[in-house]
Symmetry: C2
Subunit: 311 residues, 2 copies
């Protein structure tokens, strides 16, 4: 297992309280938890609230599993920018004797590396990744392009931590816009402001900030600086446990990064740009539980109504 | 990539029709697809129908991500019985120089094996797997035990195929019973009969049969024979594409396999047994689309109503 990033004392205490109350169920691996009924009720309530806020987008509904062809990850340069977060799927390809050797190693919790081969699949690192090749397959886009709603799918980040807001597998509620550059930029800006309002309406002390992705290594620091200077990424921050603010939603303008990789263009031959927005559904849920308490009965009536928490 | 199991001509033609109609979206890897809005409407309708059928179970609602600590898979003997279906997650642990080497290999679509290490996680092979250790953590069970509803979570099986009913990642709608042996056996039998009725009420020509798991290798044939003789597994079969019937639901009595592995017992010290049932939500959806047609508008009114297909 890679190094576990220890949460602060407040974060670890919050995790303990969530487990004690049955909101999260420990699996034995940091950042991987089951979810109790109340946690899910809030998470799905936030999901449905985003759906209602997106009604004017009239988005195409597409859903994708949490695995992706590794060719797609390789093509986007994800492994240059975020190698430390990726998850590759390995599988067994042998016969009877090899199976016995795998089982032997596994029954002693040894490394299986010598017994499995890399498959064609990786874990999906962000809910928008499968959308670009899927839209590219259709050929050039009509004017005004397309908006895609991928719902709240599971994504993977290999960053084991005892901070409950840093999960290895979590639901990212995403919308994606693919169109002319100015259309895409305006959509991203409008949603950024709408999302701040939406999260504040739930009682969260949500603040918008320019942000950067967690690019890897020495070269990553330059990439992050450039991304900030161009204001390509915004995040909405809120307190979850302790003073350190946590990003609970992000708004990303990719310019032509994905459209050039997957060759998505407008019908008139001009470039298409892309943007996406993502709500971290578990993080929003954790921020709400931290703000209003672990007993949903005691939450403000308006918040309960907005999230469809009945009974 | 492992060997792709080619579907029959009928299965491949059905896959083509599903893609043409936008119900499934190809990813480039067999058995991994996006889902269009109509496909999802049916899948979620079936999911909700199972929820209504389960109301008398008054089950505890728990949800789990599609990854599992590999220790849990190792402990259950899954790698002895089904090594060919497992998926292990590998991740990068290096520094700047190693990241460059990974990116180099990946950008040529070479094997990453030399650049990543095995993580503590595997893909969840069946939706019930995380339940047993989670229940074990609570200590001995009160009389009549517990029923757990895990919803319709994603599970992984490494069996790439051009049969659309054989997916690598699909939703298994599961309920799990953990209690005294006779209670568990009776629950499994009652649900088996209820599920046949439920699926026939949707217009499917569903048939119940004794079945066996796809155990690996030479030793697996004996395990399968024993499982059949003891009637530990039943499946509901329906036609999807062509004459070969497809299992769309299964009902499994594990006796003390999981309860002894994870040390689950009743309060009075007697043994707890476990059983689970699973609806393959994508397979039920594919059987319904094959039976009633790819245009949901034309489906029988009663089926549309039962699945909540409006508009």
């Amino acid at each position: 297992m890679g190094a576990v990033r220890e949460g602060s004392a407040e974060q670890r205490a919050y995790l303990d309280a969530l487990v004690e109350r049955g909101l999260l169920v420990p699996s034995g691996v940091p950042g991987v938890y089951g979810r109790g009924a109340d946690f899910e009720a809030v998470r799905l309530g936030v999901d449905a609230l985003v759906t209602r806020a997106a009604v004017d987008d009239d988005a195409e509904q597409l859903r994708f599993p949490p695995v992706l062809p590794r060719r797609q990850l390789e093509a986007t340069g994800y492994l240059k920018s975020f190698p430390h977060l990726a998850g590759a799927i390995f599988a067994f390809e042998g016969g009877d004797a090899q199976a016995l050797a795998l089982h032997d190693a596994a029954s002693r919790h040894e490394d299986w590396s010598g017994h499995v081969d890399q498959s064609e699949l990786v874990l999906t690192p962000a809910a928008c990744y499968p959308v670009y090749p899927a839209i590219a397959r259709r050929g050039p886009l009509a004017p005004a392009g397309v908006t895609v709603d991928v719902g709240g799918g599971y994504v993977f980040r290999h960053e084991p931590s005892t901070d409950p807001a840093r999960l290895q597998m979590f639901h990212m509620r995403e919308l994606i816009r693919i169109a002319e550059p100015e259309t895409v930029a305006a959509w991203r800006d409008a949603w950024r402001d709408r999302a701040v309002e939406l999260l504040r309406s739930l009682g969260l002390a949500a603040e918008l900030d320019v942000a950067a992705d967690p690019f890897f290594g020495r070269g990553g620091r330059m990439l992050a600086r450039s991304q900030r200077q161009q204001e390509l990424k915004f995040e909405i921050l809120a307190a979850v446990a302790g003073p350190e603010p946590t990003a609970i939603a992000s708004f990303n303008y990719h310019q032509d990064h994905f459209s050039s990789t997957f060759e998505i263009a407008m019908e008139d031959g001009s470039a298409a740009h892309t943007a996406c927005l993502g709500f971290g559904l578990e993080r929003v849920t954790l921020a709400l539980l931290a703000t209003h308490g672990l007993e949903l009965d005691g939450w403000p009536d308006g918040v309960r109504a907005d999230l469809g928490l009945h009974g």
